[in-house]
C-alpha cells in the first residue's frame, strides 16, 4: 500500500526574525521619511515666515528712507533755499520792466500738474452666459489641472530665495 507522505515545511526561525526586522525597518524608514518631509516643509514654512517679516521690515525701512529723502529734496529745493542759492550765484529777481515776452506756439506755462492719469470710467463687459454653461467637461478638467500646476509653480517661486 502506497503511503501519502506530506512534508511539513516551516521557515527557519532566523528567517522569520529577519522578516520582522525587515518590516520594522521598513516602517521606520517610512516614518523617518514622513518626518523628514514634515521637518523640511516646516522649516521652509518657518523660513518663509521669517523672510516675510524681514521683507516687511525692509519695505518699512525703504518707505521711511524714501520719505526722508523726499523731505530732504523738498527742503533743498524750497523757495527760500532756491532763492538763497540763486542770489549766491549772482541772480536777481526780475522786475516788471525787465521782462521780455516771446510768443512760443504750443507752450502753456500754466499746464496742470499731472501725477497720475485721470480717472476713467471702465466699462466691464459682463458675459451673458456664465462660464459653466459654455465650457465642456474636458475643458473644465484641463483647466483645473492647469490651475493646480500653476499654483504649485507660483508657490515654488515665492518660497525660493
Amino acid at each position: 500500500m502506497k503511503k501519502n507522505i506530506l512534508q511539513a515545511y516551516k521557515q527557519a526561525p532566523w528567517r522569520v526574525q529577519l522578516q520582522y526586522i525587515g518590516l520594522f525597518l521598513l516602517g521606520l524608514v517610512l516614518v523617518s521619511a514622513i518626518m523628514g518631509v514634515y521637518l523640511s516643509i516646516s522649516s521652509q514654512a518657518a523660513t518663509a515666515g521669517r523672510r516675510i517679516q524681514g521683507l516687511e521690515d525692509d519695505m518699512d525701512e525703504i518707505n521711511n528712507e524714501i520719505a526722508a529723502l523726499t523731505t530732504t529734496l523738498a527742503e533743498k529745493t524750497s523757495t527760500k533755499a532756491m532763492q538763497t542759492r540763486a542770489e549766491a550765484m549772482g541772480f536777481k529777481l526780475m522786475n516788471v520792466n525787465q521782462a521780455v515776452y516771446l510768443e512760443i506756439p504750443g507752450f502753456n506755462p500754466n499746464e496742470d500738474l499731472v501725477l497720475a492719469p485721470p480717472r476713467v470710467n471702465v466699462v466691464v463687459e459682463a458675459p451673458i452666459l456664465r462660464e459653466a454653461y459654455r465650457t465642456t467637461l474636458w475643458d473644465w478638467f484641463m483647466e483645473q489641472i492647469w490651475d493646480v500646476s500653476t499654483g504649485f509653480s507660483q508657490d515654488d517661486q515665492e518660497v525660493s530665495p
Partner: protein, 593 residues
C-alpha cells in the same frame, strides 16, 4: 510557560502606561485648574503683538508740484518689559523724550513686570520722537555699555528701551502758506489729525485707512501684512512763488503802515482758484507746539477766511453792480451832491471828507467814493428789496464754501429781521453795518471780473488717490449780474483809477479797482482814528486773470485805504504779472490781433 524576561517586559509596560496616564491627567488638570485662564492669558501675551498700521499721510503739492507738506522719519519709543533689567536708567533716559513723559511715569511702566505679572510686555511710551533725540539715546546706550565694562557690573543699562522708525509730518517750506495748510497735530499717534486749513478740511483723504493687525511670534503663522494704502495726495491751486511774494509783501506792508494785522488774497476769477493767500499771524507748522504762543486766545488762524469785518467802500462795487444791473442807473447818471449829506430817518450820512461834491456821474461817485451818492442809489433808486436780493445773490450772509476749515460767516441783517432799520440800507451801501470775510469779498467781486459769474473759491486743484488723479471742476455759484453789467463796472472802475492817478496803477497794465476805508465798530460806537484799509482790484481789465484783495487792519501811517492799501495792491500786481507771465497790454493785445 512565559517567555524569558516576561516579567521585565510587563514592568516596563506598566511604568510606561502609568507615565502616559500621568501626562494625560496633568494635561486635563491644567486645562481645568483655576489658573488655567490666567495661564492662557499670559500665553496670549507671548503669541504676538496686536498693532495698528498707519498708512503714510498724503503729500500736499503746490500747483507746480513743489512739496508743501510731506513726511519724514520720526520714532516710536517703547518698553519691552521682558528685557528690562534696570528700570531706573530707562526712566532717567526716557523722561526727556516728550513733554508727556516724566521719570515717575516711565519708571512705573518699566517696573511693571516685577509688580504685576501678566501685563502686556510692550508699552508705547511716546511717538514722533526726533532723530536727534534717538541719536542721543544711542550715544547714551554706548556710554552705559562702556561704563559696565569698566565696572564689570550689570548696570546702568537701557535694555528693554526700544525704538522703531515711523513717518512724521514735515513742512519743507517752513512757515510758507501755513495759514492755508494748517498743521498736523501728531501729539499722540492715535488722536493725531489735521488742524485748520487744508490739513483739517481734507483730513479724511490725507489720512488713509489705518489697519489693525496681529503680528505673531510663531513664524508658521506669519502672513504678509495687508496693504495700508497711503493717504491721497493733494495738488493745491496755490503757487508757491506767488504765495512767497504775497507773504513778503504783506510783511513789508504791515511794517511800513504800522497795521496790526493784514491779509492779501490773489485768486483767478475765471475758476475761483486761490493762487495765494497771506495772512497774519503765521507760524512754522513744523513746530506746532508754538501754536498757542502765536495764536493766543481767539486769534483766528487765517484771517482771510476766519475774520469778519466791516469792509467800507470796497463794498460800493456791489451796490453799484446791483444798480447798473437793474438799470436804475448807468455810468453817466448824474447825482447832485449839493449838501454833502444824505438823510435817512432823520439821521445824516456824510462823505468820507464831510464835503459836498456837487454834480457827479456814477463814475465820479465811484472815483471819489461818495457815501452820500451810494446811499442815495441804495435807498432812492434800488430800494431795500432789490438791494438785499442782490446782496444775497452775491453770497453775503452765507459761507462761500471754500475748502478750508474755519470759515467764518456773519449773518446778513435783512429788512425782515427785527433789528433791521432803514439806516442799515444806507450804511450797507458803502460797506458799514455789514460784516464780511475777505474771502466773501473776493468771491463776490470775482463775479464782476468774470462776466457776472461767481465761482466757488477753492484751494485744492486735484486729488491723486492710488493710480488716479481726480481734477476738480470749477463750479459756478451763481450769476448775480449780467456780463454786460460786469464789463461796464470793470470799465468804470478802470477809468476811475486812471483819472484819480491812483497809487494802485501799474504801468503797462489796465486794472480796475476800488479802495475801502472801513470804520471799526466798538461798544462805544465807531472809532474815528482806527480803520480797516482795503483795496480790491482785478486785471487786465479787458480779460481779467487775477483779482487781488488787500486788507490792512488799523494802520497807523494813514487811515485811508487809498494811501495804505492801494500801494500794496500796486506792489503785489507789479510782481504778480511777472510770476503769472502776463505781458503788458500793448504786447498782449498786439500779439493777439
Amino acid at each position: 510557560m512565559n517567555p524569558p524576561f516576561y516579567r521585565r517586559y510587563v514592568i516596563i509596560t506598566i511604568i510606561c502606561a502609568i507615565l502616559a496616564t500621568a501626562v494625560v491627567i496633568q494635561m486635563v488638570r491644567i486645562n481645568y485648574t483655576t489658573y488655567a485662564n490666567d495661564l492662557i492669558a499670559v500665553s496670549a501675551n507671548y503669541q504676538g503683538i496686536q498693532t495698528i498700521i498707519y498708512p503714510a499721510r498724503g503729500t500736499i503739492y503746490d500747483r507746480s508740484g513743489h512739496i508743501l507738506a510731506t513726511n519724514k522719519i520720526g520714532y516710536e519709543v517703547g518698553i519691552d518689559l521682558k528685557l528690562v533689567s534696570d528700570p531706573e536708567s530707562i526712566a532717567s533716559a526716557a523722561a526727556d523724550l516728550s513733554e508727556t513723559l516724566d521719570y515717575a511715569t516711565v519708571f512705573e511702566i518699566a517696573n511693571k513686570e516685577k509688580l504685576e505679572t501678566g501685563e502686556n510686555r510692550y508699552f508705547v511710551l511716546t511717538s514722533y520722537v526726533s532723530e536727534e533725540k534717538i541719536i542721543a539715546l544711542m550715544e547714551l546706550n554706548e556710554t552705559y555699555k562702556a561704563r559696565r565694562l569698566e565696572t564689570n557690573s550689570g548696570t546702568p543699562n537701557l535694555n528693554g528701551l526700544v525704538w522703531y522708525p515711523m513717518q512724521q509730518r514735515a513742512y519743507p517750506e517752513g512757515s510758507l502758506a501755513s495759514n492755508v495748510l494748517g498743521f498736523y497735530n501728531y501729539f499722540s499717534r492715535e488722536s493725531a489729525q489735521g488742524v485748520h486749513g487744508v490739513e483739517e478740511a481734507y483730513n479724511h483723504l490725507l489720512t488713509g485707512l489705518p489697519q489693525k493687525v496681529f503680528l505673531p511670534n510663531d513664524p508658521y503663522l506669519v502672513e504678509a501684512l495687508p496693504n495700508a494704502d497711503p493717504g491721497a495726495n493733494l495738488i493745491l491751486t496755490i503757487d508757491r512763488e506767488i504765495q512767497m511774494m504775497l507773504e513778503e509783501t504783506l510783511s513789508g506792508a504791515i511794517e511800513w503802515s504800522g497795521a496790526e494785522n493784514g491779509t492779501i488774497i490773489v485768486a483767478d476769477p475765471e475758476t475761483g482758484e486761490i493762487l495765494g493767500m497771506a495772512s497774519t499771524p503765521s507760524f512754522d507748522p513744523n513746530h506746532y507746539e508754538n501754536y498757542l504762543i502765536t495764536f493766543p486766545g481767539n486769534t483766528p488762524y487765517n484771517r482771510a477766511i476766519g475774520t469778519t469785518y466791516e469792509p467800507g467802500s470796497v463794498f460800493k462795487v456791489i451796490t453799484m453792480a446791483a444798480a447798473l444791473d437793474t438799470g436804475v442807473v448807468d455810468p453817466t447818471t448824474v447825482y447832485n451832491d449839493a449838501s454833502g449829506v444824505f438823510w435817512v430817518d432823520g439821521l445824516p450820512i456824510y462823505n468820507w471828507d464831510g464835503g459836498a461834491w456837487g454834480e457827479q456821474t456814477m463814475l465820479g461817485c465811484m472815483q471819489h467814493s461818495l457815501n452820500v451818492c451810494l446811499a442815495h442809489v441804495a435807498v432812492d433808486e434800488l430800494g431795500q428789496d432789490l438791494f438785499y436780493q442782490y446782496l444775497q445773490a452775491f453770497g453775503f450772509g452765507r459761507s462761500t464754501g471754500i475748502d478750508l476749515s474755519g470759515e467764518a460767516n456773519f449773518p446778513l441783517r435783512l429788512p425782515s429781521d427785527n433789528q433791521w432799520v432803514k439806516l442799515d440800507l444806507a450804511t450797507n451801501s458803502f460797506g458799514q453795518g455789514i460784516a464780511v470775510t475777505p474771502i466773501q469779498m473776493v468771491t463776490a467781486i470775482s463775479a464782476i471780473a468774470n462776466e457776472g459769474k461767481m465761482m466757488t473759491p477753492h484751494v485744492v486743484k486735484s486729488v491723486q488717490e492710488g493710480d488716479d488723479q481726480i481734477q476738480f471742476t470749477p463750479q459756478v455759484i451763481s450769476s448775480p449780474v449780467s456780463a454786460e453789467t460786469a464789463q461796464t463796472l470793470t470799465e468804470m472802475l478802470t477809468i476811475s483809477l486812471e483819472e484819480e492817478a491812483s497809487t494802485a496803477l501799474v504801468p503797462g497794465y489796465r486794472v480796475a479797482g476800488k479802495t475801502g476805508t472801513g470804520e471799526i465798530p466798538t461798544e462805544f460806537g465807531y472809532t474815528t482814528n482806527q480803520t480797516n484799509a482795503s483795496f480790491v482790484g482785478w486785471g487786465p481789465s479787458d480779460d481779467p486773470k487775477f483779482i487781488v484783495y488787500v486788507w490792512l487792519e488799523k494802520p497807523t501811517i494813514s487811515q485811508w485805504g487809498s494811501e495804505v492799501a492801494a500801494p500794496v495792491f500796486h506792489d503785489v500786481v507789479e510782481q504778480l504779472v511777472v510770476l503769472m507771465r502776463i505781458p503788458p497790454d500793448n504786447v498782449r493785445l498786439g500779439s493777439n490781433q
